[in-house]
Amino acid sequence: MNARTRRLARASLAVITATAALTGCATGGGGSGGQGGALKLWTHNAGNAAEYAVVEKIVNDFNASQSTYKVEIEAFPQGAYNDAVVASASSKKLPCILDVDGPNVPNWAWGGYLAPLEISDGEVPVADQLPSTVGKYQDKVYAFGFYDVALTMFARKSVLDENGIRIPTADQPWTRAEFTAALTALKATGKFEHPLEMGTGGSGEWWPYAYSPQLQSFGGDLVDRTTYKTADGTLNGPEALDWAKWFRSLVTDGYMAQKSGASPNDDFLNGKSAIEWDGSWDAAKNVEKLGDDLVILPPVDFGKGPKIGGASWQWAMSANCSEPDGARAYLEFSRKTKYFTEYAKATGTIPATDAAAAQIPGYEPGGRYEPLVRAARDFAVVRPVTPAYPFIASVFEKAAKDVVAGADPDSALDEAVKQIDANLKMNDFYAG
């Protein structure tokens, strides 16, 4: 071998080793973060500085409060977070502490990602929380959140008054007939191409989050919650069919856009729509722009009472955590009213406890945002508590989009039921 060949061989070897190190075993620094009292914590809010700051503060406070454990934060952008968790779970490298989107809790608990939380309550008892902020699966608590969000209808008081439309209250929400009459009146003014803004341009989880509560208010649901073994009769029953026809009629009657624009909230603020079905996250911005003219309305009662979706991001502990005591200590430590308050303040969300709500301007009883707190407490329905939820959500999104686009509601819902039932059966009804 001459020198050139040797050099080449050496270079090749170096490349191969580097590649192997890169692809095969990215072990360095990973691990479940147990040794030496170091606990890894993963959060989805790398792109959300305000919420990240609160996480960081709690972690710093915890690390300073004792010397046994040291929590280390790793933040991911929300878009990549679930993929990162699923990938690291398949290689058994989940961090000890992680946050999880509420509807995913049953799926991750069933998949063996999460451990049941056997925490003593900390400063705030779990029983004091809004029910939708506690992630349960099979009667065990797997996660808890510091806040929730609520769906609501925003409108201008002046516009409703002008058209003689009654302003609904939580105790007396609009009925279906009243709602239709209101839309007809608003459409007749000629000022709005589409008086109702429902955010139909969105995609993903927004569809089941925003529209399945309306389905539930009609009397249908995504799946039969008594058994979680079929969607037949609930997602394609007469009530669900009624909902689907109503949903499509909003488009054919010209009340709602089949696909709304990229920024529905701006369209509402610019006066392109009169009533906007939206989340509490836009409440502060709307109040700032419209002041006293803005009204925060409860959802319409389509027969079974007003409904909104419940559950936002929550905190949990991984099943393969090697320092469960440390993770538990951290989670208990975080359960302080001041942290509940800070989360809600930083994110503009609804605090999970009344004690925290009382400390946030606008969320106290009688405050500007009290309708949101009321909705989260009285109208919230958590999304179906089953590991099949991600599948059901995806099927529902497609079915609802098809219905809005003009598919035959009967066959669209029947096809959705067929797929959901096949999936439940194929996975042995997600037992175990």
Partner: protein, 311 residues
């Protein structure tokens, strides 16, 4: 150091080494050269494809407490009955059947225009190539805005027809959505194949054109009997690359329509991604990929047969 050894000494030594020794050294060099690429190909292509083949016959899920088990052809039986999958296959073939000739033709036309010698060809070459170097996601978002009911495209249609024609809601109408995606895909991709055609055009010897002009042939005859035969190899390359790219249609659909409205734009790759990630059905997505692989393989083999060297 080799360089320090006098030339004559080196020659003598080279003579004294046996033929096989030289060959072995060459072999080692070859292996050394190829090893990094082969390894990367193996890790990122061969292993994933192999895994997909195996997973397609199991019950593997993205999230599951139980290990995957062998289920035979269950996933394929489900595929055969899945109306959305069948629609996806149809859409994918329609897309490819329209895009391949259209994009290749447009690109050839642009290349012929640019190949002519006049001032400013560099400018046009750059303009036509800009969409290619722009990210497909960005292009898709921009075109979504252009295609809106009151977007630029419909405004232009309204203006040139003096308000007589009202453009459709391109992406939200099942009868126009796929055509809209075809159009923007051709717009985005044509520039790349224009460059390939251009490279082919420039390999055609100038004396052939000279001979043709001495013979006094028409422009069409010149194209038909000089240019077209001269582009033989380029043609095959363009055909196969556009076909493969067309079959893997995904980004535009994912950003612009998510397969809708009413499944009018759903594609095989889009369904594979949706099943595998959103719906956590790894095995089902693998089965879709396997079917997709076989379809593309068949089409490529047919194309290879049709474009083979005849003698």
């Amino acid at each position: 150091m080799t360089a320090a050894v006098p030339l004559r000494a080196r020659l003598r030594r080279a003579h004294s080494t046996t033929q096989t020794g030289a060959r072995r050294r060459e072999g080692i060099i070859a292996v050394g050269m190829a090893a990094p690429a082969v390894l990367l190909l193996f890790v990122f292509v061969v292993i994933p494809i192999g895994l997909a083949f195996v997973l397609a016959f199991t019950s593997a899920r993205l999230v599951s407490p139980t290990p995957a088990r062998f289920v035979g052809l269950r996933n394929f039986a489900m595929l055969a009955e899945d109306p959305v999958f069948l629609r996806s296959v149809l859409n994918t073939f329609v897309f490819a059947a329209v895009v391949v000739p259209l994009q290749a033709g447009v690109a050839l036309g642009l290349a012929l225009l640019i190949n002519a010698r006049f001032r400013g060809t560099d400018f046009f070459r750059t303009v036509y190539f800009i969409p290619v170097v722009t990210s497909m996601v960005v292009v898709s978002i921009v075109w979504t805005l252009l295609y809106q009911k009151d977007g630029l495209l419909n405004r232009v249609i309204e203006a040139v027809t003096f308000g007589q024609v009202e453009g459709p809601d391109w992406l939200n109408d099942p009868s126009t959505s796929l055509a809209a995606i075809v159009f923007m895909s051709v717009w985005q991709g044509a520039g790349f194949h224009m460059i390939i055609w251009l490279a082919g055009l420039q390999t055609i010897p100038a004396d052939l054109y000279e001979a043709a002009s001495i013979d006094g042939v028409s422009r069409w005859t010149r194209f038909r009997y000089v240019t077209w035969p001269g582009l033989r190899a380029t043609r095959t390359f363009v055909l196969i690359t556009i076909t493969i790219a067309a079959f893997s249609l995904f980004t535009q659909v994912n950003v612009m329509t998510q397969g809708g409205p009413l499944d009018s734009t759903t594609t095989v790759v889009y369904q594979a991604v949706r099943s595998g990630y959103q719906q956590q059905q790894t095995a089902y997505a693998s089965a879709i990929s396997l079917v997709f692989f076989v379809l593309v393989l068949i089409v490529s083999l047919v194309q290879r047969y049709l474009t083979r060297e005849k003698d």
